[in-house]
């Protein structure tokens, strides 16, 4: 098949294929919007230029019943253990007040930590595992054992080598120790050292920051950008600068804690719409405009919509075209947090804006982090020059937080130049394509095997549903025995019945590594009985052929 895409200046020019020309001649223009071939589930008239397929399959009912049964048994035994601890039949390992302060107002609310004490402690060895190498496609783990059922750990001194890494956010594989790749970073480290010892407003703005900000602005196709030292702080410290009392924030149900914290700190009114649900968002927008502020009925000073590019717990991609059309219709602002999607989706890795073929002018505030796809640390906010200039003076992070350190800035510069092709190679584009291939392969195989996977077919975050609390611990431990490191998530971060294992596919994973992981998953899925899907694709292999373009390898 001929390759219709041409690479020019790091931007991919799409040949908009004029398929169905005969059909198109019969399509009329309505309100200036041409209705193209409609896809299922699109109600707004905005055309998604490619298939938008998301899966959120529900497990059979008995799974939910058994999950609750498991939690019930755990709770009963929790009460039993708490009773024994209270009556001195068992040693207390949790924080307690000093003897002299027993009559004071209690410092530690025992019951609040019930879940942590009785359920989390039992499987705690699957989290906070210390690693001792770079978190590339494989890493080394420090072996630790526990003598008292996970209350304390001790290191045996041995190191488990070459554990396949399915948990690190290393989407493009830039977390590497290759000396050639890190040449410029070493030079900058020797030139600047590591400490900045100042904030951006005082003496902490280096020429590296200016260079980086210009590069980020060029990469994203916007007027200006500003970088911060920490990704979480970018969200939580900049949203209060943009909105205040009298403004309205419409935030997605499943937004990240940094967005929630920023929204709460700002003092604006927060309303939540259902996850990725455009009808819910439209209802909220209409109510906000019709009824105004709660008691005075005045118009809202500003209405801002907070969404993320890829939601890391679900693997779903935001419905950007519909949101942009809604925001234009109701005159609201859009804040897009591309923490997981910058570098990971889009034909040249420029995020969800490119993935949907839209222009970055449609989004008012583009935010992202460098932690995930660039192998560094920090975040950025990009948009119009006026916006960024305002943030330079009014954002808490800019005024009080220490700025990004120079070697890290250089790592981002070299990663971005690699992605844009400015270093003279096509390595960046190859990485993006490799990530896309790995993602599609991994998801397809998991669907065929019969697991329940959430999320969009193009997102590199793959949540595999486990449901039962007993299986969380068993899954993580057995995968480690097979030398594969996974991240499992349970109750407070996910709904109580939907605990999951979250895989992050990386461009650095080779086909063999993915096959090893898939075989291990197959075996483990049979042993733990995790294949709940009722729509496994293997019965129709010819219908799910790859139709997208791929480089020959």
């Amino acid at each position: 098949m001929a390759n219709p895409s041409a690479v020019c200046n790091g931007h991919l020019h799409h040949h908009h294929q004029k398929q169905n020309n005969l059909l198109k001649s019969g399509i009329y223009k309505k309100n200036g919007i041409t209705k193209g071939a409609k896809k299922n589930g699109v109600s707004n008239g905005t055309v998604y230029k490619k298939k938008f397929v998301e899966h959120f399959e529900q497990a059979p009912m008995y799974v939910a019943v058994l999950t609750f049964l498991g939690f019930g048994v755990g709770t009963i035994f929790g009460y039993l253990r708490d009773f024994m601890r209270a009556w001195g039949l068992e040693k207390r390992n949790i924080a307690a007040e000093r003897e002299q302060q027993k009559d004071f107002v209690p410092l530690y609310q025992d019951f609040e930590n019930f879940y942590t004490r009785n359920l989390y402690m039992r499987i705690r060895d699957n989290w906070n595992r210390p690693i001792c190498s770079v978190p590339g496609p494989q890493f080394d783990l420090m072996e630790r054992v526990t003598d008292d059922y996970n209350w304390t750990f001790r290191f045996t001194g041995r190191i488990i080598k070459n554990v396949i890494n399915m948990g690190s956010y290393n989407y493009l594989g830039f977390a590497e120790t290759d000396v050639n790749a890190l040449k410029t970073v070493t030079i900058e480290l020797q030139k600047y050292g590591t400490g900045i010892c100042s904030t951006r407003q005082e003496m902490g703005t280096l020429d590296k920051h200016v260079e980086l900000e210009k590069l980020v602005a060029t990469f994203l196709g916007v007027e200006d950008a500003m970088v911060f030292g920490m990704g979480f702080a970018t969200n939580s410290m900049n949203i209060p600068a943009l909105v205040g009392k009298g403004c309205l924030i419409l935030s997605d149900e499943l937004n990240h804690t940094s967005l929630v914290l920023g929204a709460r700190l700002s003092g604006a009114t927060i309303r939540i719409f259902k996850h990725n649900n455009m009808q819910s968002l439209e209802t909220l927008l209409r109510d906000a405009i019709i009824y105004g502020q709660p008691r005075s009925r005045r118009a809202w000073r500003k209405i801002i919509i907070l969404v993320e590019g890829i939601y890391s717990m679900e693997g779903s991609i935001v419905r950007l075209p519909e949101i942009v059309s809604l925001k234009k219709k109701y005159k609201a602002y859009l804040y897009l947090d591309e923490a997981h999607s910058i570098g990971a989706v889009g034909a040249t890795g420029r995020g969800v804006v490119e993935y949907f073929g839209m222009s970055p002018d449609d989004v008012d505030v583009l935010m992202g982090t460098f932690t995930k796809s660039f192998g560094a640390a920090g975040g950025y906010i990009a948009g119009k020059k006026d916006l960024v200039d305002f943030l330079r003076t009014h954002s808490h992070s800019a005024v009080y937080a220490t700025s990004m350190c120079p070697p890290v800035a250089e790592q981002i510069i070299r990663a971005m130049k690699c992605l844009m092709g400015l270093d003279g190679t096509t390595q960046g584009l190859q990485r993006v394509r490799q990530l896309g291939k790995n993602t599609r392969y991994f998801r397809r195989r998991l669907h065929e095997m019969g697991f329940i996977i959430y999320g969009n077919d193009d997102s590199p975050v793959v949540p595999l549903l486990l449901y039962m609390p007993g299986k969380i611990g068993a899954f993580a431990r057995r995968m480690l025995e097979k030398n594969i490191g996974v991240v499992v998530v349970g109750f407070p971060a996910t709904p109580i019945t939907e605990s999951r294992a979250r895989f992050c596919v990386s461009a650095a994973h080779t086909r063999e590594m993915l096959d090893t992981v898939l075989n291990a998953l197959d075996e483990l899925g049979d042993f733990l009985h995790l294949k709940y899907s009722r729509y496994s694709k293997s019965s129709h292999p010819e219908l799910y052929e790859e139709t997208r373009l791929e480089l020959e390898d």
């Binding site: 049964l69 498991g70 755990g74 035994f77 039962m468 611990g473 068993a474 733990l528 009985h529």
Partner: protein, 80 residues
């Protein structure tokens, strides 16, 4: 060979039971407590079934026969 696969299957079933009821996470003494409780309940239930169900079934059988006509009354022997 059949015995081996049967044993493997039973072991697998036992593992499923452990995972579903979270007894996989319990310390050994908790497991003992839990299994004792479960087995006691199960044995009591089976004993109750053994004592009461045959009587109830035969009474019900008799009742339905009476309802649908009396011709077979002589052939039914009631176990007291």
């Amino acid at each position: 060979m059949d015995i081996k696969s049967m044993k493997n299957y039973l072991y697998w079933l036992y593992c499923q039971f452990e995972l579903i009821t979270c007894s996989y996470l319990m310390e050994p003494w908790e497991k003992v407590l839990f299994y004792t409780f479960n087995i006691t309940m199960l044995v009591m239930m089976l004993y109750t079934t053994y004592i009461f169900v045959p009587v109830h079934i035969s009474t019900a059988f008799q009742f339905f026969l009476h309802l649908f006509g009396n011709q077979h009354e002589n052939t039914v022997s009631v176990v007291k």
